[in-house]
Amino acid sequence: MTPRAIVIGASAGGVQALSRILPALPARFSIPVLVVVHVPRRRDNALVELFGAKCAVDVKEAEDKEVLGGGTIYFAPADYHLLVEGDGSISLSSEEAVNHSRPAIDVLFETAADAFGPALTGIVLTGANHDGAQGLKAIGAAGGVAIVEAPETAEVPTMPAAALEQCPSARAMSFDQITTYLQELAAP
């Protein structure tokens, strides 16, 4: 099944990991990609600028209540949780940090799993905490595709390893495998 969305979570080492994956998406990629990266509270839009310059698909900061569109990468704004609503629109929230993080990967993954069920792919990349583990479990439980960056090769293995522990059915993949998997989703 072609997913209705792809959600990605990354923490320590995440910008580099994403730099190997997102620029490989072809311009005709038609699935929305939502990304939470743990970054220190700082200037807005830094990630959007960075990846906007590198990617073939559109890159933007997620805006409250906008409807997801194909072929766009949405970054959670600094200091806000990113949630997916049942109708496929997104909400932002400044509620309490989850796993000491705002945005939190679990919040995005759990709400996206709720909204899209089996039509969702979740990917947990490098990181030094456990955020995303519960979320990936929710994606797996809803019948979606769960992927982690292979802990052996991840810059910081803690986060993908924790996700794999919570969601044993997740596939551990190298960067190349992740990019190939995503590129195949774009094939006509």
Partner: protein, 274 residues
């Protein structure tokens, strides 16, 4: 996605809270409400949302506890300092021209935003002619706002924010430290009316010169955002100002055309229509 039993239970609970207590969360952004209710269920030790609903209906003391889950009380003083700087530098010069002023802080939570504005107006020499209205639906939050007491460990952040907002006094002039708490000077609320008011179910507040309502609209769905913005429009004096949260916008509102961007980057608008 297909509706789960949990989704149905949540719908019913919100309907029950509305019919019995007239708190209307039915059109709040559902993803967040659902997370928070599931959290309430597990923290309060219920097996299901339905079991929790039964207690909510039969035991009045449950309502304030539930409201603390249904509403988000995260705030800080001078949150987003650049917003307060823009008020200070761009809006205040217009407000100076009025003989008396009314300012409405809607969704004031524990009062952080209210005290920020009260201090700012005092620094700018407008406090003596300003009446503030601070409203919220959460009674626990309103009580905290009236008390004006914050944990001392937040003061560093508040002080830093205040400085970045262009504050030309020291925040420490406005509070006294007491057993790990910062107790704000009661003169800051001598011209404040606190009241229970819902942007969903209550009426217009008249003739405001400035409405500051930050990080409340994001918890609403589009229709409710539209409704609240209409309420703000009708509560503003001609050429009155509206400030909203940095990630909020007027674009889903049919009233958007009745406002002009005054400081676009800081989400400060001015009512343009008569």
């Amino acid at each position: 996605m297909t509706e789960t039993i949990e989704d149905i239970e949540i719908e019913l609970l919100l309907q029950a809270v509305y019919q019995h207590y007239h708190y209307d969360f039915r059109n709040y952004a559902r993803a967040s409400i659902k997370r928070r209710l599931l959290h309430a269920r597990s923290q309060l030790g219920y097996d299901s949302i339905s079991a929790m609903q039964s207690d909510v209906l039969h035991d009045r003391t449950m309502l304030p506890r539930l409201l603390n889950y249904l509403t988000v009380q995260v705030s800080e003083m001078f949150r987003d300092p650049s917003y307060f700087r823009a008020l200070r530098e761009k809006v205040i010069p217009h407000l100076r021209t009025y003989a008396s002023l009314k300012v409405w802080v809607a969704g004031c939570s524990n009062g952080e935003e209210l005290y920020s504005l009260s201090i700012l107006f005092r620094e700018e020499g407008l406090a003596h002619k300003t009446l503030f209205y601070a409203t919220d639906i959460n009674p626990t939050a309103l009580q905290a706002a009236e008390a004006g007491v914050y944990p001392l460990d937040q003061i560093r952040l508040f002080t830093e924010n205040h400085r970045k907002s262009g504050g030309h006094s020291s925040l420490s002039d406005y509070y006294t430290a007491d057993y790990g708490r910062a107790v704000f000077d009661k003169s800051l609320r001598s011209q404040v009316v606190f009241s229970d008011h819902s942007l969903v179910t209550d009426a217009v507040f008249g003739e405001m010169h400035l409405i500051s309502c930050r990080n409340v609209l994001i918890y609403f769905n589009r229709e409710l955002q539209n409704h609240a913005i209409g309420l703000f429009h009708d509560s503003l004096a001609r050429r009155g100002f509206l400030g909203i949260g940095s990630k909020e916008s007027l674009r889903f509102s049919e009233h958007a055309g009745s406002f002009s961007e005054f400081v676009g980057d800081e989400k400060i608008y001015q009512r343009t229509t008569p």
